[in-house]
Amino acid sequence: MSAYILRRILSTVPVVLFVMIFVFSLLYLAPGDPAAILAGDQATQEDIENIRTQLGLDRSFPVRFVEWAGGVFQGDFGTSIFTREPVSTMILQRVEPTVSLMIVTLIIALAIAIPMGVAAAWKRGSLLDRFIMLFAVLGFSVPVFVVGYVLAWTLALKLGWLPVQGYTPIAEGIWPWLRSLILPAATLSGVYIALIARITRATMLEILQQDYIRTARAKGAAGHTVLFIHALRNAMVPIVTVVGLGIALMISGAVVIETVFALPGLGRLTVESILRRDYPVIQAVILVFSFVYVIINLLIDLSYTLIDPRISY
């Protein structure tokens, strides 16, 4: 088990390294000159050259990469071209809203999607099943920003129940913090709910056909016990897998949602940095996101051993 964990952690090294090279070269090849943007409209060619030398943009690709990568391993992502602040500081400032958004989204999604999927499987072919699956299709096909604006318009603007925009840090109290997150998290959870509900339904349908479900019923177990204990526990491996894969969806969704609801998180930092061609920040944010994705999926693989005793590493 511990050997497996070690192996898995080591196997993330090439992944992270590949992402680093990819991220670095992508921005190197992308059009647009950050020095020109930073210098402004009135700058002369000479000014731009000066800025370029100052930032080290005139040196060769491998040199810059090694320099940058060396820094990254020491937790130094360089300095923002735009704000001149250390990138690591900027990221740390923006972590809380994004992590909060993801956690609340995940809780909402699981709390809604799993009962939905179970109910749909249990009442297969019924009106309820069709309604739930229709909702799931909508969740996939309606863009998040549309859902976001509609929810904000009704619940916040018209009804005034929740703040329209902005983020309240958790330090100012759990309730204000939660209030500021309900709308964005509800919006972001739409796709996630659709994804998890569908996989839950499909897996449960298969499991409800199993012999051990019949055994449970023959023991006299009640319907809800059969569904939520005997069947759902067996359905957890595919569900948890999809939750892990869905983290990618959530990250890309966060970029949009943080813009719609003006949350000062990593997603918005990403957008802002791309618009400013703030290379060091873009590189750092993408690296952080991919690292989080890799780690979460490692944890999910490890969680299989807790869910299913037949799985061991």
């Binding site: 051990y212 019949r214 055994t215 023959a218 006299g220 067996n234 005793p309």
Partner: protein, 330 residues
């Protein structure tokens, strides 16, 4: 009053195009503590009958009519809540597939204990103790260790023992065993049958044993019911049935069983007799005797008139026009 009285049971499944009469007018009794074997080919309605006793038919079943009286109460009219109280406590069931009938993510102890906790208000610790006791009873070695193991750590025979432990954990009055040994090795089969026989005398449960294996019947049951195409064609005490089978179908079944030494004692190897043809399509209405098309003795009357089940000898019933009657109807 018998423990279980099944009266004119009809189970019809609606399919897209037709109605499949899986069980058509079946009646039988099981006395308390008795072992009844139900025999027949695949698709003759044995398993469906057993599932209907526990109220576990897949829904929507189409039509279930008649009566299944357990201790004088008709289970077909019982509510789901009443059935839940009965299942696992008064009527238990073991299934054909020990490899897949246990839940892979719970320990053996949890699965035995669940029955106890559902029906006897037992605490977790009491249920765990009972699970160990049951595992010892069904002959699983070192039950204290096995109780915390998962099904995949047990062999097929051990799993079937565990299933029996689950079924008997609450001392049921009736145990329905649906082909409990079919999926097991022959040596394990004998062990499981011995175990069931032994436990039957200890616990005192009546057993309804569903099987297509006549060897199992001879070893285990007191009375036999032969089913064909959803109907009862013969019923007798085990000895009577094996000595003088009255229905051509039963005779065919017995002839299809190899006899020890039969091909060695004769100069020519004896070909095992088979019953020609197939079970009739139950989605089409049957006229006359359901077995007529495959019966060596069939006459014109067999295709017109469905023979009534009648006593051919004391306690020996068969549904055949040409089976001789040795007594007037009992």
């Amino acid at each position: 009053m018998a423990l279980l009285e099944v009266r004119d049971l009809q189970i019809h499944f609606r399919t897209a195009t037709a109605v499949n009469r899986a069980v058509d007018g079946l009646s039988f009794d099981i006395e308390a503590g008795e072992a009844l074997a139900v025999v027949g080919e695949s698709g003759c309605g044995k398993s469906v009958t057993s599932m209907s006793i526990l109220g576990l038919l897949p829904t929507p079943p189409g039509k279930v009519a008649g009566q299944i009286n357990f201790r004088g109460r008709n289970l077909l009219e019982a509510s789901e809540r009443q059935m839940r109280k009965l299942r696992g406590a008064e009527i238990s069931m073991i299934f054909q597939e020990p490899m897949t009938s246990l839940n892979p993510v719970f320990t053996i102890g949890q699965q035995i204990g669940e029955s106890v906790r559902l029906h006897e208000n037992a605490s977790r610790a009491q249920a765990h103790d009972r699970a160990i006791e049951m595992l010892r009873l069904v002959g699983i070695p070192s039950p204290e260790r096995r109780v915390d193991e998962y099904p995949h750590q047990l062999s097929g025979g051990m799993r079937q023992r565990a299933m029996i432990a689950i079924a008997l954990a609450c001392n049921p009055a009736l145990l329905v065993a649906d082909e409990p040994t079919t999926a097991l090795d022959v040596t394990i089969q004998a062990q499981i049958l011995d175990l069931m026989q032994d436990l039957r005398s200890k616990v005192g449960s009546a057993v309804m044993l569903i099987t297509h294996d006549l060897g199992v019947v001879a070893e285990f049951a007191e009375r036999v019911l032969v089913m064909y195409a959803g109907r009862k064609v013969e019923e007798a005490k085990v000895g009577d049935l094996f000595r003088t089978p009255r229905h051509p179908y039963t005779q065919g079944l017995l002839n299809a069983v190899p006899k020890l030494g039969s091909s060695l004692t004769t100069a020519e190897p004896v070909r095992l007799a088979e019953i020609p043809g197939r079970v009739p399509d139950l989605s089409k209405p049957l006229s006359g005797c359901a077995f007529a098309d495959r019966c060596p003795r069939a006459q014109e009357v067999c295709r017109r008139i469905d023979p009534a089940l009648e006593a051919k000898a004391p306690g020996h019933f068969a549904a055949c026009h040409f089976s001789p009657r040795e007594v007037s109807a009992a």
